[in-house]
Point group: C2
Chain length 423, copies 2
């Protein structure tokens, strides 16, 4: 890791910069894929599957029989673990339900909001070396709780853990389609794959770019995405081996993973570095993790306030507070996706099973975006009901404002009612 | 209006289609503006003000003196109206605050969410014929309630009603910049205008396109936007003159406004059409409204269920229910931005002063998007804290799942803690 000692505040923006991925290069290629799926539907999906993945897709949809089989292919220990994680994630997201609360803002004028599940949502789960069934949990559990009627899943993988988790959580249909073409299929619809109103899920740069392009056309997406990140703030109360393990659990995601350690203690730096070297040797993904660690940064700062400020300026996706006053500091965190408090709260608990969602804002987006939650799967519709007396009370206010905005028909809609009442 | 009698369901998608505005044409022009502001800052803003608006901007910022003067330029009746609307909007949005609720998902595993205001937000208010001070209320009131520290406003207008409302609601700085260049300034920052994390507000096609382009670069925006819309569902219990007034209050927004009437009664159609012609003659914006009305549609359908289904398929920004069982039907509305219940609840009350927000999803986006609310100005950060016992309980679940996803360092972050505890 690059150890940066006592950087001046003026240097922070430069030091905290994330790598920039030029979209200009891949965007035209992604656009070609989107256009092909839009105009040729299923046919385009089959062509791309053959071209990019070397697969002859006879059927785009994974049958309910195959999905039902998946349960028998998993060992019972893993099924039990998925079941426990499912319960926790369900419990936490269920607590996010908001009851309808009617507010009388003026006598006779009642306003309220009601959460209604988005009817059709799509989940993308990438293929690759790891079957990300945990992400199926994180997206399908709140979708089902929200009352989404159609929850479809596109994935190039047919790993039984993905299929099992999808059926456990209420995914309605699964399609074996990957890449930017899967995003296009869900955004526009094809003969086989239904068009959805909102698309969720991680993916490579092509998938991410496709999501941004369809969002520009009005299809909602969960959030823009970049490589995963963790920042750890540690002091002498931290256990160096724990910190090293947390840093490595982020680093193993890929060479572009962002790993940051912030501390006021030089001793913590050297002890964590030692533990890191030792643990790194034993990792199966050592090479990947090593590259990420090489690009990673340690910030040694003077005061607690500096540590707090640098973290809020960085706005990490994950933040681990391994400091003695972690609970107090947690109150002062302004920009982060998810915060892990204390020595016995590793990020991996939130990644899998504690109950919180692991789909979180990367790349500094935590300054403006929340992670995925039940909110992400509902629209909140506002309602209002005004009585005769309420309109008499509120009407003159509306009339004065509409007139000042020179919108006379807006004023009339009130006046004609009040005049009828008065006549 | 085009009266469409008993359309077959298969024809609905075609009939409900909104006009499509080709972005391909304006996007390159908007991109040039964005790039210029990104690279040349204030200088570009001055050049565009001269070129597009014929204005020599000596100062980009409107001084606090000028803002303070605005209060003296408004008549007291309008100030009072703005004050009442302010109170109602504040009351309704304040009720949207969510207290922190700690959830123990597993013994010793506690998770919660906390809403934190987005530090820096930007509001755009267009110029043009009407000074949209009501939109300042709708955006600045929740921003201030959310605890946003910097609330900047860009507008080409210096109308005192806008300046007064901005100072009343807690806008921190006002810049006299309009168009796509204002969006660029807030997205990238210039020497004078601070960069913000999220941009809100309406605008023409250039402004809208600029928002979509900066969103692709990671700056959050309120939502994509199209022309304003209303759908009215009326039966014999409705007063035709009221319905006509509501349709016209939408139509006067512009020739591209979307106005829809849905009814099961042929009598309602003819009576509303008569009332419409009569009221149209008296409008100052008659020509504009006439064009919008020409492009608008009446759907005469057979059954209540048809009316409900066609409305949910259209997903209108505003929906007025002037039907005898409006309260029951309101429960069945799935896709709409804001719903107005009963004969004495005209849309214009929600546009100005009842308390609900008037920044709502148009163009069918109500299928996936909510209108602006307090939620739009906060991020919800998740927190978790796990005890020793909690980790012993949850740990094996995390270990099993991490191993199945071949993420061994994720597993280690748990194992190393449990092993230390056990040793």
């Amino acid at each position: 890791m690059q150890i940066i000692k006592y950087p001046a505040r003026s240097e922070w923006p430069q030091l905290l910069q994330r790598p920039v991925f030029a979209q200009d290069e891949i965007e035209p290629r992604v656009q070609v894929i989107l256009d092909a799926v839009k105009t040729q539907g299923d046919e385009a999906l089959r062509t791309f599957a053959k071209k990019f993945d070397g697969i002859d897709l006879t059927s785009l949809e994974i049958s309910q029989d195959v999905i039902a089989q998946a349960a028998h292919q998993l060992d019972s220990n893993l099924k039990e673990a998925i079941g426990k994680a499912y319960q926790n994630i369900r419990k936490f997201h269920e607590s996010q339900k908001q009851p309808v609360e009617k507010i009388e803002t003026t006598p006779g004028v009642t306003c309220w909001r009601k959460s209604v599940g988005i009817e059709k949502v799509g989940i993308y789960i990438p293929g690759g070396s790891a079957p990300l069934f945990s992400t199926v949990l994180m997206l399908a559990v709140p979708a089902a709780l929200a009352g989404c009627e159609e929850i479809i899943l596109c994935t190039p993988s047919d790993h039984p853990a993905i299929l099992y988790t999808a059926s456990l959580t209420g995914v309605t249909r699964i399609f074996r389609v990957g890449g930017a073409q899967a995003i296009a299929a869900m955004a526009y619809g094809t003969e086989t794959i239904p068009k959805v109103y909102k698309i969720f899920g991680p993916g490579n740069q092509y998938v991410t770019n496709a999501k941004l392009l369809v969002a520009k056309e009005g299809v909602a997406i969960d959030m823009p995405a970049g490589p995963s990140e963790v920042a750890v703030w540690a002091d002498e109360s931290a256990v160096p081996a724990f910190i090293a393990a947390d840093l490595l659990s982020q680093a193993e995601h890929g060479a572009d993973s962002q790993v940051v350690l912030v501390t006021t203690s030089e001793q913590v730096v050297s002890e964590v570095m030692d533990a890191l070297q030792e643990q790194l040797k034993q990792l199966p993904r050592q090479e990947l993790a090593e590259k990420a660690i090489e690009n990673s940064k340690v910030f040694l700062v003077e005061k607690e306030q500096d540590a707090l400020d640098i973290i809020n300026a960085y706005a990490p996706e994950h933040l681990i507070l391994s400091i003695s006053n972690a609970e107090n500091i947690a109150e002062k965190i302004r920009n982060a996706g998810s915060v892990f408090i204390g020595n016995y709260t590793p990020e991996s608990c939130g990644d899998y099973a504690s109950g919180t969602n692991h789909t979180l804002p990367t790349n500094g987006y935590a300054k403006a975006y929340s992670g995925v939650s039940l909110d992400s799967f509902v629209k909140k519709i506002t309602f209002q009901q005004i009585t005769l007396d309420g309109l008499r009370e509120l009407g003159p206010t509306v009339e004065a404002m509409a007139e000042a905005e020179t919108l006379i028909a807006h004023k009339n809609a009130v006046s004609i009612r009040i005049n009828t009442l008065n006549s």
